[in-house]
Amino acid sequence: MWFRIDFHSSKPIYEQIKEKIKLLILSGKLKEGEFVPSIRYLAEDLGVNLNTVARAYRELVREGVLEVRRGEGYVVSKVNLEKIRTQLETELKKKIEDCKKAGIPLERILKVAEEIYRGDAR
């Protein structure tokens, strides 16, 4: 598992890790019951601190996204996909509001959405 971390973003690193893991689950790349890398392995691969990954995992466990299996590691739990989807939708709403403020017409937004969804089907 690897993804780019933006160290200079205003979004904390552990938040970025949490998001990316949720995305992987939502997109089906990480399945229920599958193990995520150990804290140390992920920290080394991503180039981030142990404490940061530990915190991300801790919070994901608290949110019910991951489960701890003693002696074995962290596992993707029976995910509440709905909850994750709701979070993503909230972020989308904010972005669309920004576009509205920027004066981007509704038609343009719909066109972009179409391109993305139709693009997959093709």
Binding site: F7, S9, S10, P12, E15, A43, G47, N49, L50, T52
Partner: protein, 264 residues
Amino acid sequence: MILRVKDLKKFYGVKAAVDGIGFEVEKGEIFAILGPNGAGKTTTLKCITGLRKKDSGEIELNGTFTYLPEEKKLYPHLRVKEIVDLFEKIGKNFNEKNCLEILERYRIDLNEKVTNLSHGMRTILYLSLVLSENVDLYILDEPTWGLDPIVRNEILDHIRSLTFEGKSVLYTSHVLAEVEKIADRVAIMKEGKIILTGNLDDIKSSYGLVVSKKDLNGYLLKTLKSGEKVYLVEKEEIPEGVEIEDATFEDIFEAIVRGERNDR
């Protein structure tokens, strides 16, 4: 807790270089002290390592430590090999093999005299010596100063990997971008005082930027041409409905160090 500093003060004459600071470093943590030049970072480290005597306060160190000084001066007329040998004799649990591996990776000639090494290579040499010592706490003063970007990243990775073995790091820097990559917790120091301290991620998420025509309860970041002001405000203090821009750590650092604050 591997290091605790409490109300540390150090005067040079009547001027307080360190004016009552306190912080703690936990095991397995990377703690960075950030601040402009002359803030008192180096003096703090020198008091902790015993090179300078503190005037008041407490320093509690629960483990072995090593130190990389700001100036990184080595004996100019000795050869690299001889310096490594010296560390074999007096270094703290020195791992010679490890050190020689690092030197080889950066192609530092063991037979070269220290005075003939470039500044960057001397830094790498000193780093390879200190990082090859096996201690609980690594105290590093500007460890990557003068290194080129690739080497800098490799050194940061190496420093980070120390914590994978349960070791702790206390280091100072005035390069924000670097601290953002590697610190768990930070303390921002200015004119002898710590003006902000906490977990880096928490700090990032607890501040926001607000544009306002009137004075706000926060740190002034910037005054716009229109006369409006950009304030750094703690998120809890921002009333509902007010638009918040995310604040990067650079924004937070700049605003807080500038210290232009209106307290209502």
